[in-house]
């Protein structure tokens, strides 16, 4: 029984230009204490998936299909009050840009204490004690003093530590981190990432790590989902997907990583870019960019099939693994 089991999740945005489907029947699951990576280019639907889990889609987005089973309950159909009780308590979230995540007019202490008090029947003093302890865990110097600070008094890295501390306050079962280091200075990205991982391990927290970076995913996650234009194109155990990628898109992402191929060679970028939701081509959404596309790739969306040891959505998957496709 997984901790979180997302089945055939569908998210739509009704707009003036018609209904945009941001997620098509997306499925994945996270076991207790497990780490799952969601990768894909900008606009693939990664953040939409994250917010759908917490029922926090921005207007006019809504879940129009599927189930989000978490600790035996379907989050998609939960009442407002029940959902509120889960947010920030059982499932926490870490946002991309720490400069925008903390409220500029409230102190760090206020923003931490309120989170605890929203979920626990405890005194202010007790909430403060826990908050200070968490600030210490994320290695913020003189945590007691920081409680009275406003966000702007802290650097980006420090703010993201505060956000991580907030995410851990209530000892959640799952943390969803949406590109938690993308907005940070390159020099501290690795540091923040490893801090987050350490804490997830010591607290036994499950993690959904959303990122563009397959290298990070291969280092820290046990499972991975590759999203393209709102669909899962490849998913499974991270080691298997990374060592044995089948979908040309996943292969493209992997070969674009530094360190792959000949040293010093130009990185292989996938040509073109992902189409916006308003202009998804018929058939396999990836075919206009695919080196292996054939006539039949243009008609009918290929199903997500189990190929050898993981799931792949590609009409030519079997030819590709045999290496006969050109």
């Amino acid at each position: 029984m997984p901790l979180l089991d997302v089945r055939d999740l569908r998210v739509e945005f009704p707009t003036r230009h018609g209904v945009l489907t941001a997620l098509h029947d997306v499925s994945f699951s996270v076991d207790k204490g497990e780490r799952l990576g969601i990768v894909g280019e900008s606009g693939a639907g990664k953040s939409v998936a994250a917010f759908a889990i917490l029922n926090l889609l921005s207007r006019p987005g809504r879940i129009t299909g599927g189930r989000i089973l978490f600790e035996d309950r379907d989050l998609a159909t939960l009442s407002r009050a029940d959902m509120r009780a889960i947010r920030g308590d059982r499932i926490s979230m870490i946002f991309q840009d720490p400069m925008m995540t903390l409220n500029p007019v409230l102190t760090i202490g206020t923003q931490m204490v309120e989170t605890l008090k929203a979920h626990r029947d405890i005194s202010d003093a007790e909430a403060r004690r826990i908050a200070i302890q968490r600030l210490g865990e994320v290695k913020i110097p003189s945590p007691e003093k920081r409680m009275a600070s406003y966000p702007h008094e802290l650097s980006g890295g420090m703010r993201q530590r505060v956000v991580i501390a907030i995410a851990l306050l209530t000892e959640p079962a799952l943390i969803i981190a949406d590109e938690p280091t993308t907005a940070l200075d390159v020099t501290i990205q690795a540091e923040i990432m490893s801090l987050m991982l350490d804490l997830c391990r010591t607290h036994g927290v499950g993690l959904i790590l959303i990122t563009h970076d397959l290298a990070v995913v291969s280092q820290v996650t046990q499972r991975v989902v590759v999203l393209y234009a709102g669909r899962v194109v490849e998913s499974g155990q991270t080691a298997r997907v990374v060592q044995n990628p089948v979908h040309p898109y996943t292969r493209g992402l992997l070969s674009a990583l530094p360190g792959e191929g000949e040293p010093g060679a130009r990185l292989n970028q996938i040509r073109g870019s992902m189409p916006p939701l308003t202009a998804i081509p018929p058939g396999c959404a990836f075919h206009p960019r695919c080196d292996y596309a054939e006539e039949r790739c243009r008609v009918g969306v290929p199903p997500l099939d189990v190929i050898e040891d993981h799931n792949v959505r590609c009409t030519r998957a079997r030819e590709l693994i045999r290496g006969v496709a050109a």
Partner: protein
């Protein structure tokens, strides 16, 4: 320290603006009629007039005269009203409490109505109440204040006979020497209500729209989404996280608008024959009571500058990020 530097800078700016206002006021005096005509009759000969001009310093260069005017002004001497035959500041001081009552009444109404309604419109933009409020505010913005006033008088005073339509009433309470208010008696209040509503109606649509649009923008921010993701109650997200951020821009614009409201008291006070500064000003204009006109401009200018400065200082104290920018400057 940074705050003190900011304070000094802001006060210097205020002094500069007052300087400009006094210059404008003084130029009016220079151009508006001959003061001698008001002081002496037709029978005085031209030679005698010239002698008096010399004596009064009216033949001195502009800058010398202006310097003298300024010197007296900072000591609280703005000359004497031709009509009332009393010092200008005394006349203004007599009229000021009435206007203060009116502006306070209008401000209270604006705050009490626009804050909850503006927030509601932002939180529930599709709700029928929000649609009505938005529609009404478009209409409200384009109705001139005297029409609102006449409609109010017609309905509540003439037709229903509930509220008084002119003056401040008989029963005022003196809260300080020479300072009366109508807020503390039923009679006073019944006189205050209609003019306050009329005056508030000018700014109300603006405030509702301002609060709504600011709050809607804030509600889209990441930190609000994060507040939801923390599982906070809706009340806390709206009225602490969002509202506290909405307040900052609203204080800035709002403070300035309250200053502007003083200018609108001229219309409101005329319609309701409210014995305040605005009514006094209209009368001073018809009587070409130049010292009183100038006195009004300078006093209203001063109030305007003071409110703006105070608003800026409050803004700086409420907003932690501005404080930092002050330090960086």
């Amino acid at each position: 320290m940074a705050f003190v530097a900011f304070l000094i800078k802001r006060l210097l700016q205020a002094v500069l603006v007052m300087f400009v206002i006094s210059l404008i006021g003084f130029s009016i005096q220079d151009n508006l009629g001959d003061p001698l005509r008001e002081l002496v009759g037709q029978s005085v000969s031209e030679a005698q007039r010239e002698a008096m001009r010399d004596e009064l310093g009216l033949n001195d260069p502009f800058l010398v005269q202006y310097g003298r005017f300024l010197g007296k002004a900072v000591q609280g001497d703005l000359g004497r009203s031709y009509f009332f035959k009393r010092p200008v500041l005394d006349v203004i001081g007599d009229k000021f409490p009435a206007t203060a009552d009116l502006v306070l009444g209008a401000t209270l109404i604006i705050v009490l109505v626009s804050v909850p309604l503006g927030c509601w419109c932002a939180i529930r933009p599709r709700h029928w109440l929000s649609r009505i409020a938005m529609g009404a505010s478009i209409i409200g913005i384009s109705i001139p204040v005297f029409l609102t006033a006449i409609f109010l008088i017609y309905l509540f005073s003439v037709n229903l006979g509930w509220l008084a339509s002119f003056g401040r009433g008989e029963h005022l309470v003196e809260i300080a020497p020479g300072w009366t208010t109508g807020f503390l008696t039923l009679d006073g209040l019944s006189h205050l209500i209609l003019p306050s509503i009329a005056l508030s109606s000018i700014m109300m649509p603006l405030f509702i729209r301002l609060i709504r649009s600011e709050m809607m923008e804030i509600l889209e921010q990441d930190y609000i989404k994060f507040a939801w993701a923390k599982g906070l109650a809706a009340r806390r997200v709206w009225f602490l996280h969002a509202f506290k951020n909405t307040l900052l821009p609203v204080i800035t614009v709002g403070g300035v608008q309250i200053g502007t409201m003083l200018a609108y008291t001229i219309l409101t006070e005329s319609v309701f024959q409210w014995p305040g500064l605005g009514f006094m000003f209209i009368e001073a204009v018809t009587r070409v009571d130049t010292p009183l006109i100038i006195g009004y401009i300078i006093v209203v200018g001063l109030i305007f500058v003071v409110t703006n400065t105070v608003v800026d200082l409050i803004y700086t104290m409420v907003n932690p990020t501005v404080r930092l920018m002050g330090a960086a400057r």
